[in-house]
């Protein structure tokens, strides 16, 4: 089947192929150089957070992400840094009851917020049902994406029960069932390179059924 239109392929330019091209640090451009502008106020901020039910105050460089505030300042390292760019989900934690990528949020923007990390969900001695289900179903291997998977897993059940639709939801106006397909789609923001996906699905299904 030929394309619906005829078209011309765009011409490519040849790179200067030979030696002696001097390249500098790169092309950060206008935004990068920002022509000598300087911050208009303090570069640090004191933020009050409730973390796992406990009031915490932390003074951070404004650049500090919520993830780094947790990991480096509060030393709650259960929340993982996988990519630091919102592309893997390892940093997933709960802010005011919603799961978010903590790597793509500044700590300074969370003053007064309630944060729940994996440490607040359960401990090795007293695991939450989802944590137990992950162990029972071997829903992880290296364990690095696991806290984020568990955070998402708990949220996914809540989100389905709250009627929030997903990409695979059929009728947008009907009640949404907790199906394998719904869980898989909603968990897709959490990458597991070890490939424990089907065991994670089993763990989530187990918890969903137990709590039905």
């Amino acid at each position: 089947m030929p394309p619906p239109i005829e078209f011309q392929v765009r011409r490519r330019t040849l790179l200067a192929g030979s030696a002696a091209a001097a390249v500098s640090a790169g092309f950060t451009g206008k935004a990068g150089a920002q022509s000598g502008a300087t911050p208009a106020g303090s570069e640090t901020t004191t933020v009050s957070l409730t973390v796992n039910g406990e009031a915490r105050e932390v003074t951070v460089d404004n650049r500090t992400t919520l993830l780094d505030a947790l990991r480096e300042h509060l030393q709650l390292t259960g929340t993982k840094k996988g990519c630091d760019h919102g592309q893997c989900g390892a940093c997933t934690c709960s802010v005011n009851g919603n799961r978010v990528n903590s790597c793509l949020s500044l700590a300074v923007m969370h003053d007064g917020d309630e944060i729940e990390t994996i440490e607040g969900i359960g401990t090795p001695e007293a695991m939450d049902p989802m944590q137990t289900a992950f162990v029972e179903n071997d829903g992880f291997q290296c364990g690095y994406c696991t806290p984020g998977q568990i955070q998402s897993a708990r949220s996914v059940i809540e989100e389905i029960r709250a009627g929030i639709p997903s990409h695979v939801t059929g009728d947008l106006t009907a009640e949404i069932a907790i199906t394998d397909e719904e869980i898989r789609e909603r968990m897709s923001g959490n990458i597991c390179r070890c490939g424990a996906y089907s065991n994670i699905l089993a763990a989530i299904t187990q918890v969903a059924e137990e709590s039905a």
Binding site: M1, A19, S24, P124, C142, C194, Y197
Partner: protein
């Protein structure tokens, strides 16, 4: 302990712990975020500073100048070390790209500077202030197709027997095709990360993320030019490796150099966008496979040539690895070529060789089955062998490939008279099924451990790592079994260069080697216990030791033993390998060409399965990686610049939850008493081998479109799909 003859009957044949399901003993720590990975060791040393790397931004060439003044003057900066500040560092074991030092740029994002600052944010900002001038190297032809054309037929064959010309002459059914596999990146979830304390330039301690403690221990000493005795490294939890963390990498070197320069411990993780070009990857391959068969399906000839790229001294990706061993054939010609190119370093990624090789060979087998009008399962069965094809005097220790195919066909519901390609449709989806064989060698390496009774516990120490493979659990099972204790009696300590040297984790050799090492140490401990108690003919049962009716507990003793396993020469009389069969059903959208896997089955012949829970996870994980390799993973080489352009996790697409359907795994209950005292072999890489080809064959069955280039993306199919 020497393993000098086939295992014979031993305690593992009546095991109650080994071979049984056991959830991971490190599980509760991992699911609660309490397992500490390398970058998270706040407690190990005071005053940690933050390091941030700078990568080269040309494909290859020379650095002519670096300006670090602004970086050094930036807030919080404690030290800046550039590659021009020091002589080229020695290469560590199996490194071919220099990790640091000197002005030569061998590949894009090679580390050229480290900035150390009080905070991560300060270090990152300062790193961006460094400017670099380069003289770019000569333009390079990065075409692997061109390299194949140049190199095909040259050099001494790696395997050559029989009369190839006759094999492909009169009466033979033949196929002759080219296959392409792309570069693949490990992209383990935990980035390369280290904390290193080399504050005084004397003794060095590293808390790192690494699969091979002993190799890396030595490499770090070599690279930094210090005595190995002065170096200690720890890696108790590793957030995935897949071969990417077999070697010393730039994160550890930069943290060390930064630590020495700043006079304080330094923590550093490679930013994700730098990982793909800085670290190692699986080379792309171009392969030509020619097969000749008799009309009855028996293979007359196999010719397989492969080319991959590497830096000088590198190993590329030997996609022919399995070919001399997998199928019987009257004649064979196998040759692996290496094309040197100034690209990021190519080295081992999960099932190096076989992973890329089977992606091609198992499509070729499917094509040949079709040419013969045979069922692809039957065709493979017809070419099974119990001996090395080139050397009939060397048998396989155990080989149950045929059972894998047969049991798999049965369990999957494989229909040998399945619909013709492109004829099964459900709604907008064309449905197809595919099969592929799996092969992966069964290596074993020397491996040691210390077993001791301490404070009422059996303590096992070994530098073995657990990269998600389940080492903690299977080694505890092995120890508990050998000592007749319970799992609760065992305390495992892994991943520390202070412990006895193990095999480490890689090449599918970890489980078999390290479990045997622990077995050796425990058997030595049993002797020590018997000696200490003055027992002759001591037997261990139910947590007690004794001879005759005199039994006593031994957990109150203070006793230890160190031993390792050494593998005997007799093993060289056998081919040792693992086998499998993958069955896959896919749907291909008739409009868009999107391929989605609908169900998967793997049948594995890998000796005794020490722990079916963790072994199954290894296999399904391999299958997931195989789906990514089949459908989306592709390091996009900018051939004008010699760099991989899609260097983050948004643009290098690994499989996500929604890509993975129902998966089933069957382990054959085969025992291999040549492979190890446990009669076990590895399984962690077998799960990946052949998966992508099974997907490709299923796509063909669904659509009638034969793709020989991965990933099998829709753009390769659109113009051949049915009119809409």
């Amino acid at each position: 302990m020497q393993f000098n003859e086939p295992a014979g009957t031993n305690l593992f044949d009546s095991a109650t712990i080994v071979g049984k399901d056991h959830t991971r003993i490190d599980g509760p720590l991992k699911v609660t975020g309490a397992a500490p990975y390398a970058y998270e060791r706040h407690d190990v040393v005071e005053g940690q500073l933050y390091g941030y790397p700078v990568g080269a931004t040309i494909g290859h060439g020379t650095i002519t100048a670096m300006d670090t003044e602004a970086a050094k003057a930036a807030p919080g900066v404690r030290a800046v070390v550039t590659t021009l500040d020091i002589d080229p560092l020695e290469l560590g074991m199996n490194n071919v790209a220099r990790l640091f030092g000197g002005s030569e740029v061998m590949h894009y994002h090679q580390a050229i500077a480290v900035v150390v600052a009080d905070s991560f944010e300060q270090a990152r900002a300062a790193a961006n202030l460094i400017t670099v001038s380069y003289e770019e190297g000569e333009a390079v032809d990065y075409s692997l197709d061109a390299a194949f054309e140049r190199m095909e037929g040259t050099g001494e064959p790696d395997t050559q027997y029989g009369d190839m010309e006759a094999a492909f002459s009169d009466g033979a059914v033949t196929i002759d095709q080219m296959y392409h596999t792309p570069g693949e990146s490990h992209q383990m979830m935990e980035p390369f990360a280290s904390i290193v304390d080399w504050s005084d330039g004397g003794d060095l301690t590293g808390w790192i993320s690494n699969q091979m403690i002993n190799w890396t221990h030595g490499s770090l000493a070599t690279t930094l030019g210090i005595n190995k005795e002065r170096v200690r490294i720890e890696s108790p939890y590793v957030g995935g490796g897949f071969g990417g963390k077999l070697w010393l990498r730039a994160d550890t070197v930069l943290a060390a150099l930064g630590s020495r320069a700043a006079g304080a411990p330094v923590k550093l993780a490679l930013p994700r966008p730098m990982m793909m070009n800085n670290a190692t990857h699986r080379s792309a391959t171009v392969q030509r496979i020619r097969l000749a068969a008799n009309p009855d399906g028996s293979l007359r000839g196999i010719s397989h040539e492969n080319v991959s790229y590497c830096l000088p001294g590198g190993r590329g990706e030997n996609a022919t690895a399995q070919t001399p061993l997998f199928y019987a054939s009257e004649a064979m010609h196998v040759k692996n070529h290496l094309a040197e190119m100034p690209l990021p370093e190519t080295a081992d990624m999960r099932a190096p060789g076989e992973a890329a090789g089977l992606m091609a060979l198992e499509i070729a087998m499917d094509e040949m089955a079709e040419a013969l009008e045979m069922d692809p399962v039957a065709f493979r069965l017809a070419n099974d062998t119990q001996v090395t094809p080139s050397n009939p005097d060397m048998p396989f220790s155990e080989r149950h490939f045929a059972e894998c195919l047969e049991q798999g066909a049965e369990a999957f519901g494989w229909d040998s008279s399945r619909p013709a390609p492109g004829s099964r449709r459900e709604g907008d989806w064309l449905i197809g099924q595919g099969v592929a064989g799996a092969f992966r060698g069964a290596l074993a390496l020397p491996s040691g451990a210390r077993a001791a009774i301490e404070n009422g516990k059996l303590v096992i120490e070994t530098d073995m790592t657990d990269i998600g493979t389940g080492s903690y659990t299977i080694l505890a099972q092995t120890a508990a079994e050998t000592m007749s204790l319970t799992m609760d009696d065992v305390e495992m300590r892994l991943g520390n260069s202070a412990y006895p040297v193990s095999s480490g984790s890689g090449g599918q050799f970890g489980a078999v080697s390290s479990s045997t090492g622990v077995y050796a140490a425990c058997m030595a401990l049993r002797e020590k216990i018997a000696q200490q108690l003055g027992l002759e003919e001591a037997t261990f049962a139910d947590g007690q030791v004794g001879s005759g009716n005199e039994r006593q507990s031994f957990l109150e003793l203070d006793v230890e033993a160190v031993d390792s396993i050494q593998w005997g020469d007799f093993m060289g009389e056998f081919q040792k390998a693992t086998f499998g069969a993958h069955f896959v059903e896919v749907g291909v959208n008739v409009y868009t060409g999107e391929t989605r896997v609908r169900r998967m089955l793997a049948v594995c012949d890998a000796g005794r399965i020490i722990n079916p829970v963790t072994a199954r996870s290894q296999v399904i994980g391999g299958m997931v990686m195989g789906v990514g390799a089949a459908l989306s993973e592709d390091m996009a080489l900018d051939t004008g610049r010699g760099m991989f352009a899609n260097h983050d996790l948004a643009s290098y697409e690994v499989a996500v939850h929604a890509d993975i359907p129902e998966q089933e795994v069957i382990f054959l209950d085969t025992l291999d008493d040549v492979a190890s005292p446990l009669k076990a072999k590895g399984v962690g890489e077998l799960g990946l081998c052949g998966v992508a080809a099974a997907v490709a064959n299923a796509v063909y069955n669904a659509t009638g479109i034969r793709l020989r280039e991965y990933p099998l993306t829709l753009d390769l199919m659109l113009d051949q799909l049915p009119e809409v």
